[in-house]
């Protein structure tokens, strides 16, 4: 089954995924019109920040079994059988906060939906797009390859190959090949070190 695989080391923190997510789940679906809707669509993917300012695109992992689903007493959280996605029925939600407490990733929020009801709010892995054969909006918009929509085992197979090459090339020499983004990350780390030293 295809899932959204996160490659945090590739994330540049551009927040494009958040923008695309909000637009995708808006009433109009248009980037020009969505900011003008009466109830603003909220992004369902969050960019976590480490102490070193490294970014991690964090969203619902659609766990199986899902702790949020098990903690949801009114059964507002359920698994959609055809895609296996964990979804929320906002009409049943009683805003008790149990799903948020149970979620190991901290990706549940509470927001107003288009019908003006506040309810638990999280990624639905763009189930509407998936049914049309499209990949989730956050994946489509990610130009650096930090978000992939693939079978997990396939990604891991590829990673295994890459790691094998690294072993043979020597990890050290590979580390010395610094691309522009690695230089930026290194620079950010130095800045952060300096800030810690100064505080």
């Amino acid at each position: 089954m295809k899932v959204v695989v996160v490659k945090p080391e590739r994330c540049v923190g551009c927040l494009q995924c958040r923008f695309a997510c909000a637009v995708e789940h808006s009433a109009s679906g248009s980037p020009h019109a969505a900011p003008y809707e009466p109830v603003l669509s909220k992004p369902r993917i969050h960019i976590g920040l480490t102490k070193d300012k490294d970014t991690f695109p964090n969203k619902c992992r659609h766990c199986d079994p899902a702790p949020c689903e098990m903690a949801c007493l009114p059964k507002a959280i359920f698994r959609e059988p055809s895609t296996g996605m964990v979804l929320i029925n906002p009409d049943r939600c009683i805003n008790c906060g149990m799903c948020a407490m149970a979620c190991p990733f901290g990706v549940v929020r509470y927001h107003v939906y288009a019908n003006n009801k506040t309810a638990a709010h999280k990624c639905d892995q763009c189930i509407v797009r998936q049914k049309k054969g499209q990949e989730p909006a956050c994946v489509e918009v990610c130009k650096v390859g930090a978000l992939l929509f693939e079978d997990y085992n396939k990604v891991m197979d590829r990673d295994t190959d890459e790691i094998s090459s690294l072993v043979y090339l020597g990890i050290r020499s590979k580390e010395q090949e610094k691309g522009p983004y690695q230089s930026l990350t290194a620079y950010k780390h130095r800045l952060e070190e300096l800030r810690r030293k100064q505080s």
Binding site: C14, L15, Q16, R18, F19, A20, A22, V23, P31, H32, A34, P35, Y36, L40, S41, K42, P43, E140, V141
Partner: protein, 624 residues
């Protein structure tokens, strides 16, 4: 519908796109696809790269940051970004104008061999506007004095730029009240950059009012000077016929293309290709002769004056080389895609850059100055002719036959055709034979099916008896669609058809390059002055259905500030601020008597414009 038919309405584009893909050439459309979906923050105008406390962006969905690090909100960020766009557009046109001032000055000093004064009457007329006494002076002396007076327009010696006086009195008084009369051409651009630096102007209306002043410094300054001096140095265009589309390339000839915006280089190349020795050299290489054709606004400049054909507009520039029949492309500046050198590498085409301000990968730099232009032009043409030997004759593909296009409608030639005054045009408008006039201008943008916005809009406007004036990339679009020949009157409404028939002109008139939008402004001012009303009372409008460039944003701004309602086909990056968006699409009306509308559908745009013109006619007490 084939994949290629979705990208362009032009047969030549569709067919060469297919060949481009067979040849493995990447085009502007492929690159757009790879960029999509494009950055939402940038599309809304709420990303800011002005300082390095940032980069910042405002979350339009209200959850994330609402202020940049400096404290700027969406209104400030959008206004600053828009103002900088307008400054860049004004800088481009004005720097182009400056190059002509330099040539004029050098002619005056006798140090620009090959260049001369081709319209001495116009030289005297413009000199008089600058208060220069011309009696008893030779052309060179007048040229030098005029150039020096114009240099002051670029600086800070004056309270206002000179040609702003062409605007009707009422308009100038309004501008004075709003404090938007430009003082110096470069000054306003420089001040925009200053105001938008962190911590200077942070009131969005104030920023945008200055952006208006900056745009007027282009429309009545840099661009207008560019047009007037080009006419003086290279001749004021007169009506005549030329041809458009890829079919203007000739299979048995050495084909040389000139691309960019400045006539300073292309005029000299024009001299060199007519040279007997060069033609003999071409014949010795097995060609029948040398064929010069234009692209983009350099093409418009030489088509207007010399009736040299045009191979295409913006989105055609890469595709010209796919014909395999182009020996060289000579570029000056603006709108030259950095990809062109890469495309040329797939064929035998030689690429030359000519301006010290515009260098590109995979192109050879041959610098042109007023002093050496003639010599350099001959050098490039000779090398281009010699390159004919490298052409792979089996791979030449010229997919279509050229289409006739009428051109050369300068203000002077329009007035001339009308018998010396604008009165016959005004009478035709009053009688309702011509309902009004619309400048359809601007670029191509791969986000819009190539030329579809231009052609459909023009067809609908002329069918409604509205006279169309084209410049820039629209000329080629309208020309290819057969809208710019006298016979196109049959596509016009009955009134416009009658007028076109009497004068033997097309219902869509080619006025020149994008700096020549100043010609449209001059006509609007003259109409207003003759009728004794302000421009915003006239049945006029502007449209940029497929715009892409910062220059187009500046043109739209000075048109609006002059009182001309302007419809854009592509959304400018302003929607991130509700206040700026509201101001642009309605609030400006209360200030300038004109505002913007955004409408990508040409059918709806035509309706908007027609309604606007009918309303203005009603305001003047004319029949709908």
């Amino acid at each position: 519908m084939s994949e290629y038919e979705k990208l362009s309405i032009c047969k030549d584009a569709q067919l060469t796109l297919r060949k481009a893909h067979e040849d493995g050439v990447e085009t502007v459309w492929d690159r757009l696809k790879k960029q999509e979906p494009q950055c939402g923050y940038c599309e809304l105008g709420v990303s800011c790269r002005i300082c390095v406390m940032g980069p910042c962006r405002i979350d339009p969905f209200g959850e994330g940051p609402q202020y940049g690090v400096c404290g700027a909100d969406a209104d400030i960020i959008v206004a600053r970004n828009l103002a900088r766009m307008i400054a860049a557009g004004a800088a481009s046109h004005s720097d182009h104008g400056r190059d002509l001032v330099e040539v004029l000055h050098k002619i005056g000093e006798g140090s620009a061999p090959g260049y001369t004064i081709r319209d001495a009457d116009k030289l005297k007329r413009v000199a008089a506007e600058y208060g220069i006494e011309t009696a008893g002076l030779g052309n060179e002396d007048i040229a030098r004095r005029l150039a020096e007076a114009i240099m002051e327009d670029y600086g800070m010696k004056k309270e206002q730029i000179t040609l702003i006086n062409r605007a009707p009195k009422q308009r100038r008084e309004l501008w004075k009240k709003l404090k938007v009369i430009p003082r110096g051409i470069d000054r306003e651009t420089s001040e925009t950059m200053h105001r938008t630096h962190m911590g200077v102007d942070n009131e969005y209306v104030s920023i945008l009012l200055h952006a208006v002043r900056n745009s007027l410094a282009d429309g009545y300054g840099g661009s207008m000077i560019g047009t007037e001096l080009s006419d003086i140095i290279f001749g004021t265009p007169k009506p005549g016929f030329s041809e458009v589309n890829l079919g203007v390339l000739k299979e048995d000839y050495v084909n040389i293309l000139v691309h960019g915006h400045s006539p300073v280089v292309s005029e000299m190349v024009g001299l060199a290709v007519d040279d007997k020795e060069m033609i003999e050299l071409a014949k010795s290489m097995g060609a029948k002769g040398i064929n010069l054709a234009g692209l983009c606004c350099t093409g418009n400049e030489i088509m207007m004056r010399k009736k040299i054909p045009m191979a295409g507009n913006h989105l055609m520039t890469e595709l010209t080389m796919v014909t395999g029949a182009v020996e060289s492309m000579i570029v000056d500046y603006q709108c030259i895609m950095p990809s062109l050198g890469q495309v040329a590498q797939c064929y035998h085409t030689k690429m030359y850059t000519t301006s010290d301000k515009a260098k590109f990968p995979f192109m050879e730099h041959v610098e042109f100055t007023p002093a050496n232009a003639r010599e350099q032009a001959f050098r490039i043409v000779k090398e281009s002719v010699e390159n004919f030997r490298r052409r792979n004759k089996d791979k030449v593909y010229i997919p279509v036959a050229p289409v006739r296009n009428m051109t050369g409608f300068s203000v002077e030639s329009i007035v001339g055709a009308l018998g010396g005054t604008l009165t016959p045009l005004i009478d035709a408008i009053k009688a309702g034979k011509i309902k009004g006039a619309v400048g359809v201008v601007g670029c191509n943008n791969p986000k819009i099916k190539q030329d579809s916005g231009h052609v459909e809009l023009i067809k609908r406007l002329i069918a409604n008896d509205i006279l169309v004036l084209t410049t820039g990339c629209v000329n080629v679009a309208a020309g290819k669609a057969g809208l710019q020949v006298p016979e196109a009157k049959d596509m016009a409404g009955p009134g416009l058809k009658e007028v076109c028939g009497l004068l033997n002109i097309p219902p869509s008139l080619h006025l020149g390059s994008c700096v020549d939008n100043s010609r449209i402004i001059v006509i609007a001012c003259a109409l207003a002055n003759t009728l004794g009303v302000d421009i915003d009372k006239l049945p006029l409008a502007g449209a940029a259905p497929e715009w892409y460039s910062e220059k187009a944003a500046t043109i739209a701004f000075y048109a609006m500030a002059s009182g001309i309602f302007t419809v854009l086909g592509v959304m400018p990056p302003i929607l991130g601020s509700k206040k700026v968006a509201e101001l642009a699409t309605s609030g400006l009306n209360d200030v300038f008597g004109a505002c913007f509308a955004v409408e990508p559908d040409p059918v709806k745009a035509a309706q908007l414009i027609t309604n606007h013109i009918m309303e203005k006619r009603k305001g003047l007490g004319l029949n709908a």
